[in-house]
Each structure stands twice: as structure tokens, then as C-alpha cells.
Symmetry: C2
Subunit: 675 residues, 2 copies
Amino acid sequence: MQYSPVENQIIRNQYGRLLSRIVVDAELTGVVAAAVEELLRGARSMLDVEPAIMTEIPKGSYLHIRLIEDAGYRRNEGQRWKLERDAFTLRQVQTLEEDRLQLIGGSAAGVLYGVFELLRFISLGISPEGLVIEECPSNRLRMMNQWDNADATIERGYAGNSIFYESGRIVKDVSRVRDYARLLSSVGINGISINNVNVHDIETSFITDEFLPDVARLADLFRAYGITLFLSINFAAPITIGGLDTADPLDDTVRAWWGNAVSRIYEYIPDFGGFLVKADSEHRPGPYAYGRDHADGANMLAEALETYGGIVIWRCFVYDCMQDWRDRTTDRARAAYEHFKPLDGRFCDNVILQIKNGPMDFQVREPVSPLFGAMKDTNQIIEYQITQEYTGQQRHLCYLIPQWKRVLDFDTQATGAGSDVKRVVSGSLFGMKYSGIAAVSNIGDDENWTGHPLAQANLYGYGRLTWNSDLTSEEIAEEWTRMTFGNDITVVSTVLQMLIQSWPIYENYTSPLGVGWMVTPHYHYGPDVDGYEYSRWGTYHFADRNGVGVDRTKATGTGYAAQYFPPHAEMYESLERCPDELLLFFHHVPYVHRLQSGKTVIQHIYDTHFLGVEQAEQLQQNWAALSGLVDTARYEQVAGRLAEQVEHAQYWRDVINTYFYRKSGIPDVNGRTIY
Amino acid sequence: MQYSPVENQIIRNQYGRLLSRIVVDAELTGVVAAAVEELLRGARSMLDVEPAIMTEIPKGSYLHIRLIEDAGYRRNEGQRWKLERDAFTLRQVQTLEEDRLQLIGGSAAGVLYGVFELLRFISLGISPEGLVIEECPSNRLRMMNQWDNADATIERGYAGNSIFYESGRIVKDVSRVRDYARLLSSVGINGISINNVNVHDIETSFITDEFLPDVARLADLFRAYGITLFLSINFAAPITIGGLDTADPLDDTVRAWWGNAVSRIYEYIPDFGGFLVKADSEHRPGPYAYGRDHADGANMLAEALETYGGIVIWRCFVYDCMQDWRDRTTDRARAAYEHFKPLDGRFCDNVILQIKNGPMDFQVREPVSPLFGAMKDTNQIIEYQITQEYTGQQRHLCYLIPQWKRVLDFDTQATGAGSDVKRVVSGSLFGMKYSGIAAVSNIGDDENWTGHPLAQANLYGYGRLTWNSDLTSEEIAEEWTRMTFGNDITVVSTVLQMLIQSWPIYENYTSPLGVGWMVTPHYHYGPDVDGYEYSRWGTYHFADRNGVGVDRTKATGTGYAAQYFPPHAEMYESLERCPDELLLFFHHVPYVHRLQSGKTVIQHIYDTHFLGVEQAEQLQQNWAALSGLVDTARYEQVAGRLAEQVEHAQYWRDVINTYFYRKSGIPDVNGRTIY
């Protein structure tokens, strides 16, 4: 979105010619107006061209923007999508008389996405010669979840305060929010929930006349960029603000209360998206208090929203957060499946379950949630976490697209080979009405949005991956790097390499072999191997002087492995076939157990922790080599973060190696320093 | 202070007669007026008598109150004290003509203390027959330190919010503060610092015209009860609020600034006590920033206060709170001695060092600070912590007087046998000008003052022990119990026993053999064996699969043991002679090391943790037996806390036993459940 001037003269001239005249075959209002405005901004800045907007087809070179409702293009999976209205085509048409770049959007939003694609091509230096692009998003719902609170704090935010709120109210000056809307729409995001899923006192009233005019202002703003607004709600709102003595979803007064609340919302916001709900999770209120289940709770809200076309997004992050570590029969990993699988088919058409990518909670490495593929008759959406809660909190470099892709590419085998998670969440596998991807945002009011400048790649990448789940991590990283730092080959190759390596590096010096949770409680930053070991959170590693890991097999453990479809259930069950990277998630093994890699577990721990620090030091050196090639401000910011990363990685290495050395008594075969 | 009606008719009649007429040979103003008022309150309530105040000696029975300045009585250590003005005598004079109870105070405060002693006797049912009491406090300074903040929070407070502050200002309604002043003077406290030693933004301005009128209001209030007011100050105040660019204690402008600040304080409060200072400790500003030492810093303030008779109380809680756990050469236990011992003799006469009882930080068990006895030419005051930061946070019962007495009775051997800590802090050993005892308060705005009703015994006991360091823990506990719950023998013996056992019980299920610090970081509640193990706080146990403990010997460890005078230095140095209760503080030993008790270390850990829970359960049962003998409100409050204590003790037991079992692999010889 910097729209830096294009340095390549050929590209500059080609696009300069095409964009000097723009024919718009659509009303210049709303999203189309925003699209054209964005195009003008880009053309001026990148090409130094002031386009003429015209309605008549001219002779010579021009850009032709057309809006053709329902012009969407068929995806190769043979299904036709309502939301193909988000699709667009972009192609060059050259004849003797004309040199035309033609952008056809299936909807106003399609036009907008096409414009951003065009601007991306200009920025990346991709020639318009022979361009034939047909784009349709992989996922219908492409959601952003803000965990922002009305007091301007952000739960698990690492980039300053909220851009949405100040002192308990929605901000008056929305310029920063507008930039954020542009940013999101540039990568195809089409929905946003603007408040934390943990809904506190003030936010509970967002659905009342006191706040709705302000919420509507934000809805107007996002609407102009094709983004639908959602609210997180408090399931107990009928009690908290409604004056009722119950929030029982089957109680008629409660249902009537929600019906009224919803109708009031739609008076202010006619295209309101719906509700995001965290219920009966980590002490949030929910239907359990009344002997009802999640389907009862979600359906009650869904019925209130149905008339208006609204939807309920119901989170599946439900587990016993008051677990007794002494009780080995309970397993938090099993919880989401056990709670929701039995409810398959009971949810209304306009209810979507939002399922975290893994069974625990956004750890650096987890298996894929076994719920994906297991609920054939329920709308589903996957939830990722862009904000780096457990992955370095934007102080460490951790490019997360490879992690997310591994989940999307995981073949659940639900209907045999090819039942990839991406086909579950795109809706194509089971033909769902609603589906898609959601993620927790990583932005705040820091000038650079994300604290760590390179953490922007995760935000960008999330949008791109959600739009097109077949893009590779490398493609996305390269796009982002070129658009952010320009096309200098040294810079591009260095940053690209840094990004791609960063997740494995972070994993190396933090949590070994999928065991997770070795972090400081509450903060979720910094090593504390026993931090969650004797806690009520269901998060254990069971390390003793002989071995480590959680036995989740059906044969001798908690039985979690059996929640997968057969090929995976058997693979995870097997000590020999379970992938090394998840070994300690599924098995408790002696420190001298030999991995598929040939190393013992204890030597693997030592080696990865020493290696991770060396790799972090290498990141620092690689970046140092870019001094002078990157603008000073960003260079220094990144250099500062990398220096901190190296120091903290050393600390992480020493604490974890020392912990396991003190426990196992087994020395490092290479005799390196362990304290 | 409940002044419950006396049930014993004989006692009631005896005192009723004596108190029906009171001759006051002193002006009825100030402290004497407060004393008489308190006496009337007590007489009415306990004896149902309305005393007649007279100036002429009557015939028959009466109480004669006299104020004779400098009438104080010599303590048996052969020194005469300026503060003998706090002394009093109370004796019965019976002749044929008269039956007189005579109270002579060496000062107005002496009269007040005498009145409280008399009220205590009435309450305890001690007959006036043949009464001959001569009381002179063991310690000149008997200080209370509030860790209250202007925002009404209390650092390490477990009984509600501050009674001193609301919304950044001193409270308007001081009724609760007045009750607190009565409470404190009833046990002989004569000084109070009213704000947290960690002085934040608002409190930094307490020494300015903005706050001094309010501070003076409190000083007036406390003065009426013989209590002098002190303030904690921010060493960087000349910069923060003075507009200077330095706080260098040797800088003339800084010295002039403090001189002005002090003179302004004395305009408002002519008998202002002085400053309490936490400097160069845990990131608080101090003289180090300017290349000066603690003596430079303290003396600068002392000179400003000297003209007015004010004093500086300078805390010795100074250590490296950014220590690297990987560095085994540093030892936090050594820090206070290393910082302050070399400065002995360099402090002004009106500077007092305030030294925590142990070298670490109010742990459940620590050795005595080796600074006591080591600084012969420096005024000293010991610091205790009444608020139960590391000792159960007023959720667990932990009567602390036995802990404090062990410190006072510790023979430092500084000048040979008999150099007890109590003689260091009373000032008698080295003939110090100022000395005494200070403690961090445990009260807040909870209705019962201390959260746990039985925690009041610590506040009461602190005052009594400070007044008379020769009282036993049992005597104090019995006094408090009788005055609180009445003289029912079942109640008294049960509560007395519960109090006396409570510290060892708490120690049993928490931290073994003096090792300390196995608590949740920051909160300091709940077990977390490794919580402080890899931290920057200098607080380690070095447990590995073979053994546990810190080698602080001179021969092979950090050398801390050598900071003691020879007999103790040798005792602690010796693995055989070091007391079991401090073994892991001074030595790193294998789990199979045999204690003097005959048990192995690991079996000791298991046994004490199992025992501690059984004892906690016994506390609960003992209390349950008092149902119906204690008023319902207090019965339920205590029962609730004890139930919580039992549950948390079980958790503590299981976490710590499991930790050491997993590490050592050595089973409990009794085969009890370890997870």
C-alpha cells in the first residue's frame, strides 16, 4: 500500500499508457468509487500518471472497468458459488485499433479486488503483455477477528493499543480504521468482527442504542471496502443489560429479547453480518448454565438473525479450564471433538462453527483439529491466530503462512484421499452453505501496525492465503517482500529466506517435538517448562527423570489419536510411524527413545536448541547485510527486534536444555555448555 | 478493642469501684485527653461504669493518673533511655483510708500506654489486687510501614483497599484511620510511614504544598495517639517534581532543593518524623546513578532533616534484581552485607538502616540477616512483614510471632555470647542513638481489617513484641485470643494451639528445609517449584535428578556462610552441624543425604508435605469444634478460610511431592499417593 514509484521504465510506460484513460462501466458510488479512488492513488504514486475517467470507449490504450453481476467464474471443482460475485477477470485485449486492459468484476467488490490485483502487478513489475487472469476466492467468508476491548487494550495484542476504541467509546477519528479497511480489502478480507470474543461490560452494550450509531459509522466505513461488520456478543446479555433473570436459549422472553435486539441492529446496519460467540468457554457464559447445549444456544441466535440474512459464528474453543492435573482421564485435546461432533446436523443453516486450527490453542506446533472432516452436516470455518501469542509476540520473527498451509493441505481422509482441510473450509467437500477462514488480527496503533515490521507479512499472507489457498508460502512471502522493500534481488532473496526459515527456527529453540506449553503462564512468552505442568488448563508434558510426552494413544493413553480418520488414527497411534515433529504430543517416551531421524529424544532437544540460537544469530547477520539497502528506519526497527530475539533465544535454549539435563542427567554428546 | 462486658463479677466489681472516680493530674488535652477518652470508653463498655473525672483526691476507691515527665524506669540492661518517657507504672496502693490504683506516665504517651495496659488487664480478667507494673518499651522506635498507594491499592495487601487513600488523594473521612491509630497505640506503636516504599508519581508530590495540608491532617490525627508520621520519598524527586536535571546527593542545588522541601514539611507538621527511603533497589532511583553510595544519599537527606529533629530510615533491601541465573558467582543472600557493611560509621547520627529480618525476602524460613551485629557504628532497625506475602496471604493461617522471636533471640555473637538480635535492635548492644523495629502492615479496608480474622493476631502481636521483646509467642497469642474471643477455656486453648502450630504447618506443606522461593512468580502464592529457578531475581534451588539446595559455604560455594560471626559461620559451613531447617539454604545435597533427624532429604520432603496437609485438616477440625462457642459471623469467616487452606495445602503437597518424585525417582517409603 506504499505505492512506491515503479523503477522499471518498460513496466512504467506500459501501465502508464493503459491507465492514462479509464473507462468505468458502472455507477461511481460505494465500493466501485472506492476502487477507482484506490486506482487513481496507485497510478499517481507508482506511475506518475493522472488518469482521465471516461464513459465513452476511446481509441488507443485504456483500462476498461466493467461490473457484470453474477459474472463470476467457475472454480475447477465444478461448483458454482453465490459469492462468485467476488470474482474478477483481468486481461489484456490487443487489436490493431486498441490496446485495452479489461477488468470485469462479478460485483462491486470483485471490481475492487481486481483493482488491488492490478496495483499488485504494477508494484511487482509484472508486464500487462498477454495478461489473462481469472480470480475467484477459495473461501466465501474471509474474516478478521479483532480482540480489541472498548478500553483500547487488545487481548494478546503486541502492537500498541486499539485503533477502534478510546476510553470506552468507538473512536471519533476513524482515519486509521479507514486505512485498515483499505489494507484488509487489498488482500480480499470481506468480514470483520470488531470486538474481543471475551465481551466485557462495556462491549455487552454495543448492541444497544447507546453504541449502535457509532457501530453503524464503522459499518459504513467498512462497507465501502466490501467488508461486512460483525459483533462479538455476550451470551448473558439478556441478564446483564436486558434486566431478565435468565439467558436460557429456550426461554421465550430470552428469544424475544434477542429478536428485538437483532431488529434494532438492522435498523442501524441493514447489512449487518451477525454475531461471533464465545460461550461456555473459559468462564464465559453460555447455554450450559440452563442445561442446554451449544446447538440450542447457537440456533436461538440464528433464528433471530435469519430474517435479515445474518449468521452466527460459534466458537468451538470449549474445554474444561478447571481441570485437575492429577486426573489423567481427562484430555483437553479431546474436548472440541467431544463437545461438537455429537451435535453434527443439529445447527441451523445460518450457524457456522469456528474451529481453531489445532486441538489445543495456537501452539507453535500442533496436529490438525480432528473436527475438520468429522462434521459433514455443519457449516465450518477455521480459526488462525495472526497475532503471535505463542509464537514470539512480534518480538521474534515467525512467518506463519507455512504453519497455516500445513493445516489447509492436511488430508483428513474424511471421504477418502483428497479430503484436504482446505476443501472442508472452502465448503467444497461437503457442499456447505457458509464456510471460510477467520483469524485473530495482529495490528494495533503502532505506527508500523504490527510492532515487528516483518510481522506485516503474516497479515498480508493471511489474506492472500484465504483468497487463494493454493498459493505457496514462498509466493506469498515474495509478493510481500517485493511490495514492501522493492525488487532489489539481494533484499528480496534475503528477506524471503528469513521469512521462510523463521517458523522452524522459533520452534527449534522453544518447544520440542510438538509438546507445547513450555511458556510463562498467562504471558505466554519466555520459557517456563513446568509453567503449565501442574495447572488447571489441561496442558501437560509429564516430564520426569526417565522421559517426557503425553500418551494420547487409544491403547494406553487418553484415546485422542482415535478421533482421526483411520489412516491418521493409526499413524499417530504408532510409536514408530508418528511423525517426529508431533511425537511428544502423542506419546510419552524415554529420553533415550530414538526418533525417525536417528537421534535420541534428549539429543534432539539439545541439538535443536543449540541450532535454533545459531539460526537466530544467522537471521541477525543476514539482516545486517541489508544495511544500506533498506530504509534506515525500518532497518533499525528490524535489527533491534532481531537482537532481542537472539538474546531471548539464548535464554530459551539455556533454560530448556538445563531443565532436561537436570532431569535426565544425560550429557550432550557434543559437550556444549548446559548449566 | 471490642471492650466486651466483663463476665467475672469479682473483677468487674474491683475495677468498677476503682474506675468510678478518676483523678487526672495532668492537662486534659492531646494524648492525655485521648487516653482518658479511651478509658471512659472501656469503662462504660466493659464495666458498665460512668467514671467521674476529678482533680481533688477523694476518699475511698479511685484511679489516680499522673504525668511525671522523665519519670521513666530503667531497663535491666543498665542504660537510661531518652524514650523512657514512653514508660509507665501501674500499681495498687491500699491503705485503711484509700484503695487507689495509681497510673504514672513518663509522658502523655506513657499515660496512654498505661491506660491501654489497664484496659487489657480488665479484659483479661487480671485482678488489680497487689498490682505492681513497671513498663518501659524494649524499643524506642516502634514503626508501622504502610505499603499503600494513592490510588487506594496496597502493594502485597490482602485485606481490601487502602484506608488512607481514594482516587489519588488522602481520604476525607478519616474515621477508619482514627480507629487504626487507636489500634496501633493500644499496642504501643509510635511511628507510621503512610505510603508505599515504592513511591509512584502521585506520592512523589506528597512533600509539596499540593498534598501537605492533607498529610498534616493525618499527622494531627496520629499525634493524638502518640504516633509520629513519616513519609516514603522518591529519591529522584528533585528531577521528577523539582525541575532539576539531577538528583545527585552531592550536588548543591539538589541539597538546597531537599532543604527547602523539608522546611516546607515542618511548616505543616512541626513534629514530622522523617523519611523512609527505598533507593537503588528493584529499579528505584538512588545515589548509584551519580557514582555516589548509600551513605552519600542518606546523609544528604539527614542533613536536611537534622535541624528539625527528623530522621532518615534507609532500607538495606538492595540486591541485583537483574541477575543471570547462569552466573553462579553472584549470590543475592550476600548482597545487603556487601553493600552496607563497608559503610559502617559513615552514616549521620540521624540515619537509621532498616534491615529485613533475613538475607532474602520474608520467606517462610530464612537465616537471620548477618548484618545484625556486623555494623557497630550505625543505627539499625529490623524490618518484619506482617502482611503475609510469602506466608499464605491471609488465606492460610500463619501466626508469625514465633518466626520473629527466633530472629530477636538469635545470638549474633558479635561481642561474644549474649549479643542477641533483640539487643542490636533495641540499641543496647552498641549504644545506638536510634533503633527499633519496623514492619509492613497487613490491614486494609476489609471490615475485619485483615481479611483472615485470625491474622489480626499478627498485627497485635507485632506491637506487643516490639514493646516487650521478652514476651513469649504463647503469652501474646493468649492475650490476643482472650481479648478477641473471651475467656472460655475451650476457645482459648483451641485458638492458642492453632496459632502456635500454624507457622510450622504452613512451612511443612510449602517450602522444605529453608530452600524458599517455590512459589508462583510475582503473586508469591501457590506452588511453582521452578517458578524462580531460571529468573533474574537471584532465587534458586538448583534441584536436579540427584539433589537440591544452594551451596553457600566458603569452601565450595558462594561464601555467604562466612558473613556470620565465627560460631555461626562454622556451624552453617558444616554439612553435619547446619540445622536441618536451613540445610538447603546453605548446602546442595543428594536426595539421599541423611538429616540430623535421621531421615533422608527426599523422605523429609514427602513426610512434611503429607503431614502438613493432615495438620491443616486438623486445624479445620479444631475450629469446627468451636461452632457455637464463637459468634457465627467470625466462625464462618474462619471456617471458610480454613477450608480453602486445606484444599490449597493438598495442591501444594501434590505439586511439590510430584516435582521431587519425578526428578529423584525415589518412591515414598510409605507408598502414599504421589502423581
